[in-house]
Amino acid sequence: MAATTSAKPTGPTPVKNKKKSVFQTNNWVDIFLTVVRLVAIGIIGLGFTLFVIQQATGEGLSSEALRNLIVAGIAQGAMYGLIALGYSMVYGVLGFINFAHGEVFMSGAIAGWIVSDTLFKNGLWESNFIVSLLIVLTVSVFVSTAATILMERIAYRPLRESPRLIPLITSIGVSFFMQNAVLGLIGPSSKNFPALPEWLSKKRGFLGIELEGTKLLVLFVAFVSMAGLWFFVERTKTGKAMRAVAEDKEIAALMGINVDRIIITTFAVGGAMAGVAGVLWGLLFRGVSFLTGFLPGIKAFTAAVIGGVGNLGGSMAGGLILGVAESVGPLLILEPLGIPGVSQLKDVVAFSVLVLVLLFKPSGLFGERLSAEDRA
């Protein structure tokens, strides 16, 4: 055997290894997943086809009803999007699901109720709604931010180096604790935000569609908050530091960034957005209780995954997609299949979307942005 210095080998032209298609695999897990996928697509396709046929024969929904559903979905989706930002940013930076983020949102909603109720009794709510709203927003944002900062400081920071399921379990505990603490503090009944003044809530034409003022307000506030967040993350020094920490904590620390501070900021900003969403939720649906955080929390997490975890624009888009899907989905797909009581199945739809998204597109529609260690 002679020592050969390597020249370019002159073997046969190398074969390219393509991923085996699902039809070639003999792995039963893949086969099972394919079946699930096909069934899901089949159900959606069938339902949608039936829906189209119904529409064509004029038996289905009026276009106005459909439009209303879509608008309702967008308004709700905007709130999901706002909550999703918190999941997304924290996952982007720390690689862990803050299960208690839904409760941060709930704390904002409850704080909003307490303040707005007080203002209503003082009469300021009626006499000067704009000022009242600003006060409510400020207090709610403060409460949510404080809640999330406390959470980080007490429960999550000591676990930063632990295996990733440990902080997840902790956050489940935090969530459970907060729910029941609020239950103890304000009682089990649902609390109502005061109604909006008539001049605001009345329907008005907007771009050719009739819209409820409340929904417009929700969309407006959500949009302004998003824009503020975008400005913060993209344009300020702290925002840039945040992105650096999300990319690689160690390198960021080497470059003189105070990682602890940035992580707190991340939690805080997420909390603030959740606080805004809490107030909007109260304005739109009026009833809030200690359970208000659970479902929107899970759905917002779904939205974050749909949009691609760590991707802020994606989270907002994911929220809108989920909101619309949830509001039109049952009527669009389940109703035509002849399933009774579809409105009851709204949450089943939401959870199914969660399961299907995590099963088949865990990296989201618009791409994940995770730090180096979490991608591995």
């Binding site: 020592a3 080998p9 190398p14 074969v15 290894n17």
Partner: protein, 278 residues
């Protein structure tokens, strides 16, 4: 000699980085082949590719004539390949005995019924697993047996962790054993002893061996053939003497200038200075 492992034109790219570039490689039955090269040359990636942890974008890997591409790591182990890890990865909370017993998973098949009904087949299999585990551990003298059997792996010293990792790989009953820097972190006495054991792994247990190693003494003493990797490319192969005097190899280790100034510098010193860097 029959071909055991045959690697044809394999390339691995991580993002933009070519970790393995159009590599050809083979191992015959009964051979001990050493893979050397500076840090970051792609040696560990090469092992990861063979054992299915990384799938090559291009190329084919054949073991006993059958392609391994697309197989899961556990299926590859079942075919008769086993490895150790450069950064020792034991199951730290499991006992030493359990570490070795669990490695026989793919050679055994009792699941639920056996242990629940304490069938004869299950008892026999458990006894065999244990016996084989003790035999494998016994290969390393008294270090891993006796009271040690029931100790969790994390109490072991570094050298013993390495030994246990080799034992665990042996327990999978491989035909080809892949050792990633088996003597790293051992003192000269320990590495000399392990070198001797590696020879016995072939003569007594019949394993063929591919070994990544920085210690040129070990490489010289046990290898039939040495392959030198740099930047994912084979820059030389042949017997230890041939490779160690090859100027390209010395250059890869020491850089061009050093290679020229030292003239016929030897690889032993080069490798040792290279080792200091990692």
């Amino acid at each position: 000699m029959t071909r055991l492992l045959e690697i044809e034109n394999v390339s691995i790219t991580f993002g933009g980085l070519k970790a393995i570039d159009d590599l050809n490689f083979h191992v015959d039955e009964g051979e001990i082949v050493s893979v050397i090269g500076p840090n970051g040359a792609g040696k560990t990636t090469f092992f990861n590719t063979i054992t299915g942890l990384v799938t090559p974008q291009i190329g084919d890997i054949k073991f006993e004539g059958q392609s391994l591409i697309g197989l899961d790591p556990n299926e590859i182990t079942a075919r008769g390949l086993a490895r150790t890890f450069q950064n020792v990865r034991l199951f730290p909370q499991m006992t030493i005995l359990e570490n070795v017993m669990v490695a026989q998973h793919c050679r055994t098949n009792q699941r639920v019924i056996g242990p629940l009904f304490r069938t004869a087949a299950w008892k026999k299999e458990e006894a065999e697993i244990r016996e084989r585990a003790e035999k494998v551990l016994g290969f390393f003298g008294h270090r891993l047996v006796g009271y040690r059997l029931e100790q969790p792996a994390f109490v072991l010293s570094y050298a013993n962790r390495r030994r246990l990792e080799i034992a665990r790989a042996m327990a999978t009953q491989p035909k080809l054993l892949l050792l990633d820097e088996p003597v790293a972190g051992m003192n000269p006495k320990e590495s000399e002893e392990l070198t001797h054991l590696i020879g016995r792994l072939r003569s007594e247990w019949g394993f063929s061996i591919v070994m990544i190693e920085h210690d040129m003494g070990v490489v010289r003493d046990v290898s039939d053939r040495v392959v030198v990797l740099d930047h994912g490319v084979t820059i030389a192969q042949g017997s230890y003497e041939e490779v160690s005097t090859n100027p390209t190899v010395i250059e890869a280790y020491l850089g061009k200038a050093a290679a020229e100034s030292e003239g016929g510098g030897s690889l032993d010193s080069a490798a040792h200075s290279g080792e200091g860097a990692h």
